[in-house]
């Protein structure tokens, strides 16, 4: 039934005339019968999406305000700031399978938004809701990747499975919650520790520094050294006694091989001990009622987990032992030393590449018929560009991290030069075919690189949502917006299959409740990138300018991607966000109730530096949250 006796078609025409709605979308859009009545998504009517649920969802997004202070609801009059009405569909390919919100399966496995934070703060604005400024003292277990690295560092073990985890690539800024050691986990640890110990056979004497492994006094000293590195503290005599008892027991039943097998049992016991598996933060007595300062060894363990992805190396351990790590100068010297190590740089580069989705290029298949250029070789080129770019910014040039977004130079091979429309001078490329090159107009930094853009697209078209959420969450650290409620998941999925362009669908969401409540907070970022197709090529027409009204503290009109990234780095927003993400990673504060929240102090410390990654890391490890823990009240 249609209000006022108008036909469905008439409603469509009136609506189109009023809104300048694109024709393709218009054909999918039912008329609305009252001004403030929600306009349901196509095909949603039959399913009857509940208004109450819809309103609850909108409420969950703060009524469409980025900072919770705008208060501008998004009714059929549309959200503020969207300037795209009237844009004709850019003719992006349609069809194929869309991802469905709710599985976290946005293009290329992109995560969807979550529902764990209330709206609070703005881009680099107010701090997160900060219930307590320090994390609680915890036993932080090494994750499986780190544990393998620990085994490699302690006994030189290079297990067969090491190849599963290319250095750096599997590091991720999105920290999982701390794992629990259940029986199957412990079973795996025991086997890995056993294999690592066994890998020493033939060189046990060298590693433990005892030419004669039957010399128990020497062996005790050698095992004590290993224990100290593994536990990141000096072992107590009782602990060594227990270890030597185990060794004696093994000596009594294992073959007489000069004591090597028995020594390996003791090594396995150290490698599988909880003091090796966990990084405890509570070994130092509390100082005062409400906090405990981490000891030098605990601090060293935290720095090692953050930067070495493992236990401390000898120099770091020595700095803990002589106390210099507890001084500003000593701490700074160690951080500088570590940042110069190739393995630390690889690790941090991997974190950045993964944290900013460059690695997603390998996991974002494209429709071969539409994008035959998106071959494995092209994907490798795209990733190599990002890798070279990040290494250049962070390490070769030591530039401020904001360069990651606004950098005007990149590295391309022939394939990428074609993709970007760059003419390469002949004979200048390096052995792998890459050459530094200025970016053409319309591109700047990681956000416009093909790896990131491809990873933020579907198989057959771009994704305004994925790109918008990436900017909002990963570049600005704005609070998460809730996923669509499950009651309308099916309708959302159906809408995603509609024969409409991404711009048209974004328009639809902008004009429709409950969609607009949340989408008004990130779709605009994605729309600003609609000038790049699903594999990152420039395409026409160029997107319409977007107005950042209602997204305070962002403001202004963004006409081109270069304008957008300038806004993102303004007032150190991007740098602050990166610092927050790295701080969360460094603290392993994945549990929501234990999240780091003293962002103001961190921002201030970052602002005092030169904006480089090194300065950010110095700010993190110098922050009280890195050095102290909240004391639990009985």
């Amino acid at each position: 039934m249609h209000a006022q006796g108008l036909s469905r078609t008439t409603h469509y025409r009136l609506f189109r005339a009023r809104r300048g709605f694109p024709t393709a979308l218009l054909l999918l859009t039912p008329a609305r019968t009252a001004k403030r009545q929600p306009m349901r998504p196509p095909r949603a009517i039959a399913r009857g999406a509940g208004l109450a649920v819809a309103l609850a969802w909108a409420a969950g997004c703060g009524g469409g305000s980025l900072g919770g202070d705008d208060g501008s609801p998004t009714t059929m009059d549309g959200p503020p700031g969207v300037m795209v009405p009237g844009v004709s569909g850019p003719g992006a390919p349609t069809g194929g399978q869309p991802p469905v919100a709710g599985d976290g399966e946005q293009p290329g496995g992109l995560p969807s938004s979550g529902a764990d934070d209330p709206m609070a703060g703005g881009a680099s604005g107010p701090s997160r809701s900060c219930a307590r400024s320090l994390p609680a003292a915890r036993a932080v277990p090494f994750n499986p990747r780190q544990y393998r690295q620990v085994l490699a560092d302690l006994v030189g073990y290079e297990g067969a499975d090491q190849g599963d985890l290319p250095p750096g690539l599997e590091s991720d800024l999105d920290v999982l919650d701390r794992a629990w050691v259940t029986a199957s986990v412990l079973d795996r640890v025991m086997r890995e520790a056993e294999a690592a110990a066994e890998s020493l056979r033939g060189r046990t004497a060298d590693v433990l520094g005892c030419a004669n492994l039957a010399d128990t006094a020497c062996l005790r000293t050698g095992l004590s050294g290993l224990m100290q590195r593994a536990y990141v503290r000096a072992p107590e005599p009782a602990e060594l006694d227990a270890l030597m008892e185990l060794h004696a027991q093994a000596l009594g039943v294992l073959p007489a091989d000069g004591g090597e097998s028995a020594a390996l049992v003791a090594v396995q016991a150290i490698l599988a001990a909880p003091s090796t598996l966990y990084r405890p933060e509570f070994l130092t007595p509390a100082q005062g009622d409400d906090m405990r300062v981490l000891s030098a060894h605990e601090r060293a363990a935290g720095i090692a987990a953050f930067l070495l992805d493992s236990v401390p190396d000898d120099e770091l351990l020595a700095a803990a032992q002589d106390g210099s790590l507890m001084t500003d100068a000593g701490l700074s010297a160690q951080v500088d030393r570590l940042l110069a190590l190739p393995r630390v740089r690889r690790h941090l580069t991997g974190l950045v590449l993964n944290g900013y989705r460059a690695t997603r290029v390998f996991e974002s298949p494209k429709d071969e018929a539409l994008f035959p250029e998106f071959t494995a070789s092209m994907q490798a080129s795209m990733f190599a560009e990002s890798q070279r770019f990040v290494e250049d910014v962070l390490w070769t040039r030591g530039a401020p991290v904001s360069e990651l977004l606004v950098g005007g130079q990149t590295f391309v091979d022939e394939a990428l030069a074609d993709l970007y429309g760059i003419t390469l001078p002949p004979g200048m490329a390096d052995a792998e075919g890459f050459l530094a090159s200025d970016l053409p107009d319309g591109r700047a930094g990681l956000l416009t690189q093909a790896s990131v853009l491809s990873g933020l697209s579907r198989t057959d078209k771009t994704s305004v949502v994925a790109r918008g959420l990436f900017v909002r969450r990963d570049l600005l650290c704005l609070p998460k917006v809730p996923a669509p409620p499950e009651d309308i998941q099916a309708q959302v999925a159906e809408q995603l299959t509609a024969e409409a362009t991404e711009t048209e669908l974004a328009m639809y969401r902008a004009q429709t409740q409950p969609c607009s409540g949340c989408h008004s907070q990130f779709d605009r970022f994605g729309l600003a990138l609609e000038g790049f197709d699903p594999i990152g090529r420039t395409r026409l027409p160029a997107p319409e300018p977007i107005d950042l009204e209602g997204l305070r503290p962002l403001m202004g009109i963004v006409e081109r991607p270069e304008d957008l990234v300038e806004v993102l780095v303004e007032d150190d927003r991007f740098t602050h966000c990166m610092a927050e993400r790295l701080m969360d990673y460094a603290l392993s504060t994945a549990a929501a109730g234990n999240a780091f929240c003293d962002t103001d102090a961190l921002h201030a410390a970052v602002a005092a530096g030169d904006g480089t990654l090194g300065a950010v890391i110095h700010a993190i490890v110098s922050h009280p949250a890195f050095a102290a823990r909240k004391e639990e009240q009985p």
């Binding site: 976290g104 609680a136 599963d164 599988a272 909880p274 996923a483 994945a590």
Partner: protein
């Protein structure tokens, strides 16, 4: 009811020779004195719900015909109860497959999400039903291995936890499943230790030393616990529980599998790990069209995992297991399942979301039928295997065959559940139960618990998620 001693002397002797004597002697004595035969719980999960119209069976409760998807279960129909009209009641945050998996397995609402992990990855708010029943059901307790978790595939779109774990020891404490049959075998039958000892004395020594290594760690753990704030106690206690579980296995578990019906160590297979370099098949994660099929190796992994579970049941080394074919966001690529394209290879979950593709329901039907066929083969092997305590293994094992969503669109109502089992676990087989007014899945768990003799198991704790045990018991 038959609870008489029926174990054969030859079976006992061979079993005792091959396995830990102490445990077998205890079992033998207990059975000889008329102890109840073992009861077992095996929860099997298949992904992505079903296509209801091809799943629903027809007929009355006792005179009924299997549907197309369930037809492969014909050989075990005598031990089968089809539950038509079940709802997955799933309050709380989380994505479709994600929350569905957690809620089905825990029976309680989700409360919070893991940070990251795709933004819709819920934490379990309590222990899973298998662990819960294990704790309150004497008939499930006392075996060398308290419980066993296996999964045949670990690939997901993002690094989420919820879809990849069925079992939880407590809130947000997932139990990692074994991904390769070889790992499962090693856990159950042990491969020990320094230098690959072969003879019995060396094995016994290696076993003793491994236990000593665990003891050494236990003293370290206890020291940490004395210093740790109370908020960390639960985590460290779970670790201690894990130490004890492994120590118990070393005290008593088997060293040889031949007499448990498993003559060979499972072959080495590439695990389906969620790491970049170890992806099999397609080289990418979420794609509809794949270059290489992996349904065959998927079936092999499932069969080999199950062979270890069955062997563990035969020798009564465990009585509780969870078996997951794949996470709900299934990345297994099937060949020949897409209608009219016998050579095309399609990935299960990505294609399930092509709602406008009219061929998809048929594809999903074929895949679900594929899972029915493989699962049925496993259940048939339980049916065909004599239980030491009397009857066959399926008589004394309750097997809820569950999924995490009702349909591919993530809806939770009218979900497909089946329970297999026999008189030993109280199941009245060969029944089609049609709940027109619909029943929550927790009602199934209440009935399963009652059939197993769980003590004080009258509620899972959330009244809005249950109405009372299903009428599926004898």
């Amino acid at each position: 009811m038959r609870h008489t001693y029926r174990i054969r002397r030859r079976n006992f002797l061979t079993g005792a020779a091959a396995t830990g004597f102490a445990y077998w002697l205890q079992r033998f004595e207990a059975l000889a004195q008329g102890a109840e035969p073992a009861k077992r719980l095996l929860i099997m999960h298949h992904p992505v719900g079903t296509v209801k119209r091809n799943w629903a069976c027809t007929g009355t409760e006792t005179e009924w015909q299997l549907s197309r998807i369930l037809a492969p279960f014909e050989p075990v129909k005598s031990h089968m109860v089809v539950l038509d009209g079940m709802d997955i009641v799933a309050p709380g945050p989380g994505g479709g497959h994600e929350k569905g998996t957690v809620v089905v397995m825990t029976g309680v609402p989700t409360r919070e999400l893991y940070p990251g992990n795709g933004g819709d990855d819920p934490k379990a708010a309590g222990p899973s039903i298998d662990q819960r029943l294990l704790g309150i059901t004497p008939a499930l307790q006392g075996t060398p291995i308290a419980s066993l978790q296996v999964s045949c595939d670990d690939r997901v779109d993002v690094r989420e936890i919820s879809t990849r774990r069925l079992s939880y020891t407590g809130p947000a404490a997932p139990m990692e499943p074994y991904l390769t049959p070889k790992e499962t075998y090693e856990r159950v039958f042990g491969s020990l230790m320094m230098g690959g000892s072969q003879n019995a004395a060396a094995l016994a020594n290696a076993r003793m030393l491994r236990k000593s290594v665990l003891d050494f760690g236990l003293s370290d753990l206890r020291k940490l616990r004395t210093l740790a704030p109370s908020s960390e106690h639960e985590r460290l206690d779970a670790h201690e529980e894990a130490v004890r579980a492994l120590e118990t296995e070393l005290d008593q578990s088997a060293q040889g599998s031949g007499s448990c019906g498993l003559s060979e160590t499972p072959q080495e297979l590439d695990p389906f790990l969620d790491t970049r370099a170890n992806r099999i098949g397609n080289g990418v994660y979420s794609t509809v069209d794949a270059d290489k099929r992996d349904d065959e190796i998927h079936a092999t992994i499932g069969r080999l995992h199950f062979s270890v579970i069955k062997a563990a049941f035969v020798c009564d080394l465990t009585r509780v297991a969870t078996f997951q074919w794949s996470p709900g966001t299934n990345h297994v690529s099937f060949m020949g399942m897409y209608p009219g394209e016998p050579t095309s290879i399609k990935m299960h979950h990505p294609l399930s979301h092509e709602f406008n593709n009219r061929q998809v329901p048929e594809f999903l039907t074929n895949v679900d039928t594929w899972y029915s066929e493989r699962t049925s083969e496993m259940l048939q092997s339980l049916l065909d295997t004599e239980d030491a305590g009397g009857g066959n293994l399926l008589d004394n094992t309750v097997v809820p065959y569950v999924t995490e969503v009702a349909r591919a669109d993530h809806t939770f109502y009218d979900a497909p559940f089946v329970v297999f089992g026999g008189a030993g676990v109280g199941i009245q087989g060969n029944r089609l139960k049609q709940y027109r007014s619909r029943r929550p899945v927790n009602d199934m768990w209440l009935a399963v618990g009652q059939g197993l003799g769980a003590q004080g198991f009258t509620s899972l704790g959330t009244r809005s998620m249950e109405t009372g045990p299903l009428d599926i018991l004898i």
